[in-house]
Amino acid sequence: MKHIEAQRGRRERGSALLLTLLLTLVGALILGLTVDATSLLWVRSNAQTTANLVAAAVALEQQRNPAASQEYLVETARATAALNGYAHGVDSAAVHLELAEGKTSVLVEKDAGVYFLRVLRPQPVAVRARAGVEVPGAVKAGL
C-alpha cells in the first residue's frame, strides 16, 4: 500500500510544472497570433487612410486640371502615396488608379510583415485598401 502511494506521489510531482509550461506555450502562441492579427488590422487601417488621401489628391488634381492624362494622374496618385509611406514599387507597395466616367478609384496594397502567423502561413499577407471619389465631389470612403 505504501509502495503504491509513493509511486503516485512521484508521478504527481512535476505535473503542475509541466501543465503550466504547456499552457504558457499555448498562451504564447495565441498571444503571437493575436499580435500579428492586430498588426494586420493596423496596417489595413493605415492603408485605408492612405487610399483616402490619395483619392482626395487625385480629385483635387482633376478639378485643377481637367485635361490631365491618365498617366499624369497615376503619377500624381503615386507621389501622394509615397509621401504617406507607400512608395509604388518599394517594399512590395503598389498604388493603382482606375479611372472610369466621372469616378476614380484608388487601390493601395502592401505585403504586411507577420511573424508568428508564418507558422500557419509562410506566404506574406497582402493588405489592400480601396477608396473611391466622384469628380467633382468628396471622397466617399472615410474622409
Partner: protein, 155 residues
C-alpha cells in the same frame, strides 16, 4: 503528515517557478493591447483630423505661418473634444512640390518653390504617450509614444 507537507512544499515550489513565466505572458498581453489600442486610436484621430480639415483645404495652402499655428491649436482642441482623447497633441506643417510634365514630383521642400501648378501638402502628425507600460516591454525599450503621420494635399 510528512508526505502531505512535502507535497504542499513541492506545489509551492512549482508555482514559484511557473509564476514569472505566467506573469511575463500576462503583462506582455496587457502591454501589446495598450500599445495597439493606442495606435488604432491615433489612426482614428488622423482620419478625424483630415475630415475636420476637408471643408477648408485651400485655405491651408495660402494661410500665414501664424494663422496656421493658431489653427493647429484650435484644431487640437476640437480633436481632443471630439475623440475623447484629452492628451493627444497635433502638429501641422506645410510642404511644397513642383509637378513635372509626367505628374511626378521633383522634390518636396519646406519652403514654397513658386512654380506653376505648385502642389501644397499638409503633414498631420498626431501623437500621445502610451501609458502605462507595466510589463517587460518597457525593459526592451518598446515605444512609449503612439503616433500617426499623414500627408494631405491641400492645393
Amino acid at each position: 503528515m510528512n508526505r502531505r507537507r512535502r507535497q504542499r512544499g513541492a506545489a509551492l515550489l512549482e508555482f514559484a517557478i511557473a509564476l514569472p513565466f505566467a506573469l511575463t505572458l500576462f503583462l506582455g498581453i496587457s502591454d501589446f493591447s495598450i500599445y495597439f489600442w493606442s495606435q488604432t486610436r491615433m489612426e482614428e484621430i488622423a482620419r478625424l483630423t483630415v475630415s475636420r480639415m476637408t471643408p477648408g483645404l485651400p485655405g491651408y495652402a495660402s494661410a500665414s505661418d501664424a494663422a496656421l499655428t493658431q489653427f493647429t491649436r484650435s484644431l487640437e482642441e476640437t480633436i481632443r473634444r471630439d475623440s475623447g482623447v484629452a492628451d493627444v497633441s497635433l502638429a501641422l506643417s506645410r510642404h511644397f512640390a513642383c509637378p513635372l510634365a509626367d505628374g511626378k514630383e521633383k522634390n518636396v521642400t519646406a519652403e514654397p518653390q513658386l512654380c506653376e501648378g505648385e502642389r501644397v501638402y499638409l503633414r498631420v502628425v498626431s501623437d500621445r504617450a502610451v501609458a502605462p507600460l507595466l510589463g517587460p516591454l518597457r525593459l526592451l525599450g518598446f515605444p512609449k509614444t503612439a503616433f500617426s503621420r499623414h500627408v494631405i494635399r491641400v492645393r
